[in-house]
Assembly symmetry: C2
């Protein structure tokens, strides 16, 4: 079983869009996939089910005593299940701050769970919730938008992930890869892609997710892009990503 | 003196782009402006100065005992100063969690400071750092990207800002307004704008910031768009926003 954390503290780089569509892509490769929404915005929850801030949610598992298996839902995508989030997670960092073992609540809660893939969507932050995601994962997947802020933030992000891996004692946690999102045929985009190629040689996935409005429209329709517009450039991109991730994840 | 917090827990909606360019716009209206970067990504710091994660920073004021006036810098924009951020802020929520009065550290640190406008850039979160920003502000300005997730998150965001205003006892804190960012001439964008008009009647600013690559390029050049490309649609948008904000802020 692979547990993949989608992480990047930069906002709006496509974490949720990746969590939702990678899950759907893997499901179409005959995998049973559980998405865990760890973000107080609950965007993945909404994108896959149409529900807005449902209670109970993963908050009650992390901060309360609810058992995770009591809040696993079906989604609009076949073979994709979800553990939903809600807005109370926005205060979870502070509420969990004083608890011993606070970074391992999710890992413990997921202990009995049996899926081929667990995909964890995280908030744009490196706080306690993202640390829970990392501590519960076998792999980290990092979407990088082709913008100045996103690229310039990568050194710090990588260093922090490595610090957390050491600090939380997670020697087997690997960066599965980084990959470009919002790719378009402009000079700026192509130049930035070139920078990424140099910087992340060996860890940069082949798949580039293009800027494609169908990805936004699919969220609106509460479907994955593979249901909504499979032949769109966004649909093809995530089909490709699922294949590439499956290959890499089963390799280690 | 107006202290304006740029807030939205959704990532990538244009908070930093607004903090930087609104500050520059107000400076061109003969105002002395201080930008406070409260985000561990330190994007506003980089955009206005080219510096990456400088130490010392606002972190040392909030978590340590440094005096704020010792870290006020000039920026590449005339009449815009900045209090920089650095990556250690990513852990500030947890580190400050146990301190009494943790939400008021910034307000106290800003007590002696004299500018026409203070513009506070916040992380995509509603935790302790954003609470510090709200507690130090006279006004909140909310950029809303014209996307499903951004619009759907608005109810929760508004409710949370009001809860925080009550919880932190900040009766004079006002939502100065909400305004659209990433506006473009597409059906989806225009429909979403229509939704915003209905939902936020009376609080929706006239200014709409269009999708414009010059805004991204200006960050790359470590200049405001008003220096980099004043006549671009992004430049005109932020010139307009500065005028509209100045009018509203001086009215109350
Ligand atoms: N390749 C793409 N092309 C066009 N739009 C996209 C693409 N990827 C994502 N989007 C849209 O961009 C916005 C940001 O994407 P998304 O919410 O997935 O990012 P995120 O990293 O999860 O954001 P946050 O940091 O707030 O959690 C959304 O409105 C989404 O629909
Ligand atoms: N109107 C616009 N047109 C085109 N690009 C824009 C526009 N506004 C912002 N951008 C770009 O979009 C990206 C996100 O903007 P920005 O970083 O200002 O958002 P943010 O809300 O501060 O993000 P975060 O939540 O991560 O702090 C940046 O790369 C920025 O250059
Ligand atoms: Mg997200
Ligand atoms: Mg920002």
């Amino acid at each position: 079983m692979s547990a993949i954390c989608i992480a990047n503290n930069k906002g709006g780089v496509g974490k949720t869009t990746t969590a939702v569509n990678l899950a759907a892509g893997l499901a179409r490769l005959n995998q049973r996939v559980l998405v865990v929404d760890l973000d107080g915005q609950a965007n993945a929850t909404y994108a896959l089910t149409g529900r807005v801030h449902p209670v109970p949610s993963i908050y009650d598992v992390l901060v309360g005593t609810r058992k995770l298996d009591t809040i696993i839902w079906q989604t609009n995508e076949e073979n994709v299940w979800i553990v939903p989030a809600d807005g109370r997670l926005q205060q979870a960092d502070v509420e969990m701050a004083a608890r011993p073992g606070r970074e391992f609540r999710l890992a413990r809660a997921l202990a009995g769970v049996d899926y081929d893939y667990i995909i964890i969507d995280t908030p744009p932050s490196l706080g306690v919730l993202t640390q829970n995601a990392l501590a519960a994962s076998t792999d980290v997947l990092v979407p990088i938008a082709l913008t100045e802020f996103s690229v310039i933030g990568m050194d710090k992000l990588e260093a922090t992930i490595e610090d957390l891996r050491d600090g939380l004692n997670l020697p087997d946690l690997e960066i599965l890869g980084v990959f470009a999102t919002f790719y378009e045929d402009t000079t700026t985009s192509r130049e930035t892609w070139g920078l990424l190629e140099k910087k992340f040689e060996g860890r940069l996935l082949e798949t580039r997710i293009p800027k494609n409005l169908d990805l936004e429209k699919a969220h609106r329709a509460n479907e994955s892009v593979l249901s909504f517009a499979p032949n769109s450039s966004g649909g093809q991109g995530y089909t490709h990503l699922a294949r590439e991730v499956k290959k890499l994840a089963s390799a280690h």
